[in-house]
Every structure is written in structure tokens, then in C-alpha cells.
Symmetry: C2
Subunit: 457 residues, 2 copies
């Protein structure tokens, strides 16, 4: 039995940040992580040859001030995402090369559709109060249709529709029919609008930390030292008047309060004594994770750059649905990151590893030429197969959930407080949102104890 001020469940960015801020405020803390590794929905693998690969969340962008603050704190520099050259789009058997976010080389009708929809989404996002999206004037209307329905009604060009469906539903690693349109607007708004979410330069994919996300989360964990316990899935959280008791199969932690910083569906697998309020229990049943395969394909060098290509490409339905240059700050090796999301990721996930590699490399070769045919390595991460991720990357809200249960996203349940990127009003869905949620939860527990006169400060 360990006795500490606070217990934190989950050693992703939300949990590690909460624990770090508590430790810096002079509180004792224990972090319990179910996986045998740090990072949560980020996961940096550093190979024997020094090459590092982000197998999960990887990018940072402007406005993501709290993750930048952590980088400053730990002296982690960033480098710009490679964006020189053309992006490519394959849709309905046609191939387009273009620059920027919208493929202007598509038909004028498709381009006009895309442009209009971007403008419209941007306008709708402005009407969303980030702290309470369920209070938007048209919240009820938007929360009763899925993203798929909205696209059907608003995007008449077929290729534009296919493209937007892939790009937007991809953010939620799910089919467009599964995601509430209100949730889409909220999540986009929390990042500043569709241009930020779907863009690269000066947007959500603008830069990366040198060394990958692990370059940030490893020193955070190092500062927490032996307070962090891996391979300790939490089975029960019991609360009483005096505090909480958090139990894994091997450890029991007694604390004043606990911060649960894991995805919603995973939080729902913990047994709470007594039962949580109905709205929170129901939220755990209602915000599922999606399917995502993230594959790093390594080559001697980033050969596409010489062809005037950025490495960025999108092809709805393909085994290499989205690609992006994922080279490190070093010139070699070349790394193409292949991202497959939603229904297509579930299909690919059912293949054998060998079949999947053949399918993905085949698609890359068709797209980038024969130089793509013989990669040095093929490193795949299927987030759906990770028990304690529950899927990837962001839990989404189906229709009706934000308007019925939204306030339960952040409301503490007695001595149980909630973190995780889904609970952040700003940059919800990004690493920065996770960091913000951890800092908010840390402030919350300290303030709660100060209020009841049990604080130390």
C-alpha cells in the first residue's frame, strides 16, 4: 500500500503532465500505467541505429502553447515538417498534383465545392462555445445528424465528397456515419477551424519535436522517477470520505484524489466503488475509439523529394490511404508514414502482416514509382490491437452524446478527476489538448484540497 497525495491513472501526455505539475507543486504522486511503455497514444520507438519513429501522435502546430511550453522546459527543439514539392491526390481513378490544403487542380466544380465547404465549416466552427459546445445555438440540430449526412447534403461534387469524407472522418478514425456533426464542429473549432485541422504548414502538421514525442515524455517521466509504474492496469477505484483507493493486480495506492487520464472506453473498464454518477458511466459507454494503422516505411533516402513531391498524398479506399513524409531532422533514412483510418483500417487489420505489407507497398509503388517497392523496413502500429488504447486516436461522440452528456466530460465525480485530450476544450484531440487537460486536472485537485483546508500551500 503506497500512500501519496495524488494518484494518476495513465502515463500518456495527460497523465504525465498532471503528475509533473503536482510534483512541481510539492505534492507526492504515483502514476499507474497499464501498458509496458510510456506515452499513451504517442509512442516513439528509437532504433538501434538511432533512427526514431513516432508510432502514434507525432505533429505539433502553432497555438499549441502548452506542449511547446513543455518542450521549452525540457529543451526539446522542433523541426519543420517537409512540405516542399507537390502533394498528390488519387480519387475516382484520377491523379492530381497540387500544393496547399485544397487540390486546386481538380475540376473547377470540385474545387469550388471544397472551397465553399471549407468556408462554411469555418463559419460554423465560430459559433461553437468551446467550453460548452452543447450550448451552441444550433447544437441540437447538428447533434442529431452524422458527419456523413451533412456531407451528403452539402457537398455535391462526388470527388470533393470522397475527399472530404476521407479527410474529416479520418480525424476520428471512423466512418463518417458514426460521428456527430456537432462533435466534428467542436473538435475542429477547438483547434481553430478546418484549415488548422486538415492543413500541414502553419497548421496541425506544421512541425515535430526533434527525437519525436518521446523526447518530451521521457524526460517528464524521468523527473517523476520511481513514481511511475508500468504494466499496472488499474482494476478498481474506490472512494470514501477520506480519499481514494486505487488498485491494480499488484499495487494498492491510497491518495486524497485520483486523476484518470485514459481514453473514455478504457476508463469504462475500471470498476468504480461506489458507481459513478449515471451521466459519467453513460459517457464511458458512448465515446468509442476508432481504428487506425500507422505504418512507417523506411527507405535509403526520401527519393520522392527529388521527384518534386512532398510525400503527402491521399487516396480514399487505398491500402495507403494517406501518406506524409515522416523523415526525422536527419537527411536519411527517408520515411513515408502511411496512415489508414476507419473502415479501411479494420479491413487491413484482418490481413496477415505479410499480406498487409504487400498491399501497402504495392499502393506506394503505384503512387511514388518503383523506388518505393523495396523499403528498408516496414514498422506498423495497429492501435485497435492495443488493449489499453482501446483503438485510436481520439474518442469521438456519436449523435446526441454531446448535447446529452457533454458536461460529464470534465466534471469531477467526488474525488475522481478526469484528464485526457477528450476533456480539453482547447486543442481537443491533440497532444497539446492532453497536456492542457493534465494541467487543468492538477490545478483542480490542488484547489479542491485547498478549499477544504487540507492544502499545504
Amino acid at each position: 500500500m503506497t500512500d501519496v497525495d495524488y494518484c494518476v491513472v495513465g502515463a500518456g501526455f495527460a497523465g504525465l503532465t498532471a503528475a509533473l505539475r503536482l510534483k512541481q507543486a510539492g505534492r507526492s504522486v504515483t502514476v499507474l500505467e497499464a501498458r509496458d511503455r510510456l506515452g499513451g497514444r504517442t509512442f516513439t520507438e528509437t532504433r538501434d541505429d538511432g533512427v526514431w519513429i513516432d508510432r502514434g501522435g507525432a505533429w505539433i502546430g502553432p497555438g499549441q502553447d502548452r506542449v511547446h511550453a513543455l518542450m521549452t522546459e525540457f529543451g526539446v527543439p522542433s523541426y519543420k515538417q517537409y512540405t516542399a514539392g507537390d502533394a498528390m491526390m488519387m480519387v475516382d481513378g484520377k491523379k492530381y498534383r497540387y500544393q496547399g490544403t485544397i487540390p486546386m487542380t481538380m475540376s473547377p466544380w470540385a474545387v469550388a465545392n471544397l472551397g465553399t465547404v471549407f468556408l462554411e465549416l469555418g463559419e460554423l466552427c465560430k459559433s461553437i462555445p468551446l467550453d460548452a459546445p452543447w450550448e451552441a445555438k444550433r447544437a441540437a440540430e447538428w447533434d442529431r445528424i452524422s458527419l456523413a449526412k451533412w456531407l451528403d447534403d452539402n457537398v455535391l461534387s462526388k470527388p470533393a465528397h470522397r475527399l472530404l469524407e476521407m479527410a474529416i472522418a479520418g480525424c476520428y478514425t471512423s466512418a463518417a456515419s458514426e460521428v456527430s456533426f456537432l462533435f466534428v464542429l467542436y473538435q475542429m473549432a477547438s483547434g481553430g477551424g478546418p484549415g488548422f485541422v486538415l492543413g500541414v504548414k502553419d497548421a496541425a502538421q506544421d512541425s515535430r519535436p526533434v527525437g519525436g514525442m518521446g523526447a518530451i515524455y521521457r524526460p517528464m517521466a524521468a523527473e517523476l522517477g520511481r513514481s511511475v509504474h508500468l504494466s499496472q492496469p488499474v482494476r478498481t477505484i474506490a472512494q470514501d470520505d477520506g480519499g481514494v483507493t486505487v488498485a491494480t493486480d499488484q499495487l494498492t495506492v491510497r491518495a486524497r484524489r485520483v486523476i484518470v487520464a485514459v481514453p473514455l472506453a478504457v476508463a469504462g473498464q475500471i470498476r468504480y466503488e461506489p458507481l459513478l454518477p449515471v451521466d459519467r458511466t453513460f459517457l464511458h459507454q458512448r465515446m468509442p475509439s476508432g481504428a487506425i494503422l500507422k505504418i512507417a516505411v523506411l527507405y535509403d533516402e526520401p527519393f520522392w523529394r527529388a521527384d518534386g513531391l512532398s510525400g503527402q498524398s491521399a487516396a480514399p479506399g487505398s491500402a495507403a490511404m494517406v501518406t506524409i513524409d515522416a523523415g526525422t531532422d536527419a537527411p536519411r533514412p527517408g520515411v513515408l508514414c502511411v496512415i489508414v483510418e476507419g473502415p479501411r483500417a479494420r479491413e487491413l487489420g484482418r490481413l496477415t502482416a505479410a499480406e498487409r505489407r504487400t498491399a501497402v507497398v504495392g499502393a506506394l509503388t503505384e503512387r511514388f514509382g518503383s523506388a518505393a517497392a523495396a523499403p528498408l523496413d516496414f514498422v506498423e502500429q495497429d492501435w485497435s490491437a492495443e488493449r489499453y488504447s482501446g483503438g485510436g486516436m481520439l474518442s469521438h461522440a456519436p449523435t446526441g452524446v454531446l448535447t446529452e452528456f457533454g458536461p460529464a466530460l470534465r466534471a469531477p465525480c467526488g474525488r475522481i478527476h478526469w484528464a485526457g485530450t477528450e476533456s480539453s476544450a482547447v486543442m481537443c484531440g491533440w497532444v497539446d489538448g492532453a497536456v492542457r487537460s493534465g494541467e487543468r486536472a492538477a490545478r483542480e485537485v490542488v484547489a479542491a484540497d485547498d478549499l477544504v483546508g487540507a492544502g499545504r500551500g
Copy 2:
């Protein structure tokens, strides 16, 4: 360690039926139930004075052949639901008395709306293939909108809209915005259409077993004898080439196969080794339970009958949202069953028991007169507060779920087979569907073992 042919998780109607059929086929079986009682989402309390109360699922109707077969098997007679007299409807401050399913005393415009919508729903239901609703011609279209959106587009009379929203969303104990319209059509079609689902006489609320549901499930459990273990929540199910190992905190059962017969969200709290296929794991994250309060209010006698009232009433938003005469086959006491579902049930659930009683009895008194003001007893069941029900009464599918994950509802995962009313193509959502699912799962496991040459028969 108990060694049996088959293990069944859950002692509701699905699990008990599966176990019974297996035992009758000469197989050994162990049933593990998490709650300290039998019945699952049915729950008959028999009081010291001999009065019995169904605190959960209660009614049976024509076409529900498999639950009727069980009743014949165990010699349980049925009696007709009391339907003489007028039903009442309170909507938008107006009160209507009427007979039948549609309140014909509302305005002609509202009545026309209701009639049209009933016809339309009935027609749409006919196009649903019950075994695979995701293959309906318009499945994709219907699975991208919620019930709320369809009602908005199709019911223009405001009182008709309020009424239908309450009545239909009530079936899923959720807000209309939460439920996929495809799921609504499927579930209605599985019972034979909207007239069956929402009707009383010759419909889903036609009759009740004498003695309540417990008069059926208790003798089933008695026949299974010591094979049924209560208060044994299953924590893990591990499968290997030779069989399955099912563990609770105290018991370990080794069997050839296991039938899991619990609600989807509850099935998702079991740890499966190895992980289930992604589509099944995701289904567990995606079919939530709803909120329902079911309250039996007992009076000396059913005084409303003398006033020419059937006891059936509906009032959207009221603390006594729906009422129905729930008297036993004896003339006394009078029992009004109050059912409150969805968002209103969550609101009422947050009150103290005393506040809730005041609100409900107040609403009944306003509706049925001063005789309603002083009940003999007030027996309430909040299904959301039951850990191992996970809510009530039927798990629903949000948009996108049936078209993406529907086939996972029944597909066995290796040696793990699935029962529960949600997995029944016929009478999905009723006790009869649960019985059918149990019989199907029992056939499934026996056939699987006969196929591999391990059968005994």
C-alpha cells in the same frame, strides 16, 4: 476449477435458456451471474403478502412463440393486460382521452400526422431484412441520421412530434438524437412493425405471465440447480485451442465453449485473452444502454377503472411519463406502473428517493385524481444504477454502427458465442428475443463441437 462442457455468462432469460437447452441435450453446464439475483433485465419481486411486482421486462405478446413455449413447458399461464376504458395523453398542456394506439381525439392535423407516420414506419420496416438490416436497400441513408432527425423531417404537427418522440425514443430509453434511424426500423421490424411495438392489445403489451417473469425464470433456474452461481461477476475469459477458461474472483470454470449472455456494455467490461477481433471489441464500445426508472405504485384497488380509465397514460416531460395498469391477475391491490425513460429518467435519478416519490405521486394525482395521492407502497427500480445491467432496457445502436459493425452482433469469436436479446433477429429487445438468442447460441455451440467430432450425441 469446475470442468464442464459449456459455461454460460449471465442468468437472464438468454443465459438461462441457453443453459437449460444444453442441459436438456445432455451437456454439463455452469452459469455465472454477476448480480445476486436471477432474471437479468427482468426482475420479479414477490412480497410477503403474495403480491408480485415485475421491476423490469414484464409483457408478452402474440408472435413471441419461444417465451410462450417456455411457459407451456413450465405450466405458467398468462392473463390479459387490462385495457378496458380510456387511455390518456397529456401533451403541450392539453389532455386527451382515447382508445387504441393513436389518440384520435387530438386535432385532425395531429391525428393525420400520427396515422401517416405509423403507415410510413410500417412500410419502411417491411424493407428491412431481419437477419441483416445493414443490407436494406436504404440502410446507408437511414444509418446516417438519428431518429430525432427523421422525426423532424417527417412529423410536422408539434404535439404529434412530441408524442412520437417520447413513445419511440422511449423504447430505447434514450434521447431520440442518440439512436440510429436504421436501428429503430430494424428493432421495430423484428417485432412486426410499429403497431406491435407501441400497441397494447394484441401487441407487445398484450399479456403477462401469472406470477410475473419470475414464474418462468425461477423454475428454469431450479431445473439447472447448483449449476447456477449468483454474485459471480466474470472478470476474464481466456480461450486456447482446447477450450475456454472463465474466471470470477472466486471461481474458475473450464469448458469447451462459453456463451456470453449479458448486455453489450457489460460484455465490454470482461477481459478477453486474447483480445477479441476488432469489430466485436468496437461493438462493445458502441452499443450503450439507456436510462429507465420503473416504479410500481400500489393502491388498495385499481380506482381508475371505476372512472372508465385503463390506467394507460402518456405525458412527455412529466415525472410520470408513461403509466400502465400493472395489476396482477388478482383484483387487488391496484398497481400503476410508472415508466420514465431517457433524459427525464436521468433527471429524476438525481433526486433523492423522497423527492422522486413526491414528484411522481404528484403527477399521478394531477392525472388520476386525489385517490392517487396516498399509495400503499412505492417500489422503484432505477436500472441505470445497476452495475451489471449497465442501464436499461435494450442496448441501442447509434448511427453508423449497424452498417459498420452489425455482423459482429452474432458472429462467434472462436470459442466465445454471443446471446442476449440484442443478438436476436426476431423480437430483438423483448424477453422472447432473449429466449431465441439463448436457444440459437445453444444450438451453435453443440453444432460447433459436433462438427469437430467432439460431440456426444
